[in-house]
């Protein structure tokens, strides 16, 4: 009997499916890194660096994919399929062409459909290997990074506002409630050097002893640094954006209900002012009769007036 609904038969399959199921409070997003038919040496290095930065929750595809054109209407189906298969909601797609050299498309998905895209070009790239520093300072994998955004263009330019949001989403890591202060060791410094360009650096943090209980911060450049030039971007559709920004509804606070340890649950009931003096008396028969008689008389008079002109 082959039914249309496939339900997992083993516990392992069931657990895997539950991992992919939507959760009330979401934590980390997985990233998918892939490239198109043509890449350059710089782009390969960029993609592998991003993969190393996000090693725990990223998937890197090594083969080339030739039918991905995210900015065209039909060309995103492959991306959506990969997102569904690997359960990744962040996509980093690299491609290189004469018109758009060292092109990087950062995309987000909602429910495995493309939510928004930002296309950036990578310039002045320096890879992680080219930096020489004391290895003890190297930031640990999976640590939550600091973010520093500098420049008024992040507020004034639409594209940079969008890029800021996407970079935050890409590198932020897990959303945690409790943070171990001893474990902060990296920072992403993004400077808007023009209305379309962001100079991004990745540095390690060094906490130095200072007089007070707050340590003195020192930045040591460790990671890749590159200039991101925003080429194109696609903002999310309004309806989709509204749906994606919905948060889990918290249980509504019940008003006028208190819990007393002795008496139990107590409630307050507020009665509106009844205004007894203004109530009409229902049993004034005489008055009613008279009213009815008068109303009937008035109605007949008005009817006679209507009939007569005819």
């Amino acid at each position: 009997m082959v039914a249309a609904i496939r339900v997992p038969k083993t516990q392992r399959a069931r657990r895997e499916l539950l991992k992919h199921a939507p959760k009330l409070v979401e934590t980390s997003k997985k990233t998918l890194i892939l490239h198109g038919t043509k890449t350059s040496a710089v782009l390969n290095s960029v993609l592998s660096d991003i993969y190393h930065l996000k090693r725990d929750n990223a998937v890197k595809y090594t083969k080339k994919n030739d039918n991905i054109r995210p900015f065209e209407s039909g060309g995103e189906s492959s991306l959506e399929f990969f997102s569904l298969k690997t359960d990744c909601s962040l996509i980093v797609y690299g491609s290189h062409s004469k018109k758009r050299p060292n092109n990087l498309i950062l995309g987000r998905t909602y429910d495995h459909h493309i939510y928004d895209l930002v296309e950036v070009g990578v310039e002045n790239y320096k890879s992680m290997e080219s930096y020489v520093y004391d290895k003890k300072l190297a930031p640990k994998l999976g640590s939550k990074p600091f973010f520093a955004f500098i420049g008024e263009h992040f507020e004034s330019a639409e594209e940079l506002k969008h890029l800021k949001e996407v970079l935050l989403d890409l590198f932020r890591g897990e959303v945690v409630e409790n943070l171990n202060l001893a474990g902060v060791d990296r920072i992403y410094v993004c400077t808007a050097i023009s209305p379309t360009t962001v100079y991004m650096m990745h540095c390690a943090l060094r906490l130095k002893r200072s007089g007070t209980s707050i340590p003195r911060m020192e930045l040591v450049e460790v990671g890749p640094s590159m200039d991101l030039v925003v080429r194109r971007h696609r903002l999310p559709v309004e309806s989709l954006k509204k749906e994606a920004m919905k948060t889990a509804e918290h249980a509504k606070k019940m008003k006028n209900v208190t819990k007393d340890p002795v008496q139990g649950k107590l409630g307050k009931v507020y009665m509106p002012d009844q205004q007894v003096g203004k109530l009409t008396l229902a049993n004034d028969i005489k008055g009613l009769k008279r009213e009815r008689r008068e109303a009937k008389k008035n109605k007949d008079d008005s009817k006679k007036q209507k009939v007569n002109p005819e």
């Binding site: 082959v2 979401e26 990074p145 500098i150 945690v176 202060l181 920072i187 906490l207 003195r216 450049e221």
Partner: protein, 333 residues
Amino acid sequence: MAEGPAATTIAASSYEVDLGNLMAYDPSHHIAAASREELRQECLRKGTELAQALADALFALPPNEDRDGPIVHLSLPTVRLPREKHLPKPKPPTKWELFAKVKGITKRKKNKREWDEQTQSWKRTYGYDRVNDDKDIPIIEAKSTDEPGVDPFAQRRDEKKKRVEKQEKNRLENLKKAAKIGALPRLLSFTSKCCFPPPLYYECLFVSGRNLAELQLSNIFCMQSIQLAAKALPIIGTKADLPKKSRKEDLESVVGMASSATASGGKFDEKLPDEKPPKHPGKHRKFLPVAEGKGMGSLEKQQNDKILNSLLARNSDEPLDVGKASSRIQPLT
């Protein structure tokens, strides 16, 4: 955004600090430096300032001392980022749950083992070697209502089978209801509309078993792809009569056939977003090149030879083809 003035450093600049995301933003204008190296130094300096502002804000929070280090409780991030999946929808109550609610039936815990009177031992409540197994009944006493030729054991077996099938049907119905409102976790093969071109893709759902013949499954998972309702199995008929599941190649050839209906052979037909271009674009005849060489080229000669040979062979009076015959000679032994 929480305004956190950096009191320790420059009082004039105010940074926007988002502790939930560990983010600091300096909206003041950043002067462009002359060279790359200067720019880098300037960015590092500014970055240090912002990191210091963040550290000030973080270390100001009351820490819980843990063996790994001081742990602080972060507030919710002010910059809200979109979710990656929709909010989970609660599963609708099953048919049994609704009934139980109406009747006031509550769940009771069953023990894993029960005392079996027949074998005087503790047996499982379910599974292998269970307590009240149907198979273990040795004798069924005949009732006055029983007909003479009926086998009560077979009857019991059939009834059990029917009960199991009914339960399976109800389970599938419940799952279908849950899937309709989107409460089930998304399954790979049936949900993504991006796998198959929408109008050409239709699900052929095989529903076998006479009890499930009434089930009409349509539009369960696929949001936008058009689905034909499953054709119920005929009451009579074999597996060969079932409509075969169309392969991708068949569907593509159908598209090719349909395109021949237009005067331009489907060249200007509006293509769907996922449709691939046709495999044999227009060329169905092979023409020889116009200029091949001096006089009759070898290709033209070959073509003419082929035609002549086939004509002559058809019209020749010789019934025997010596060449063919000689190849078929077998030594008589």
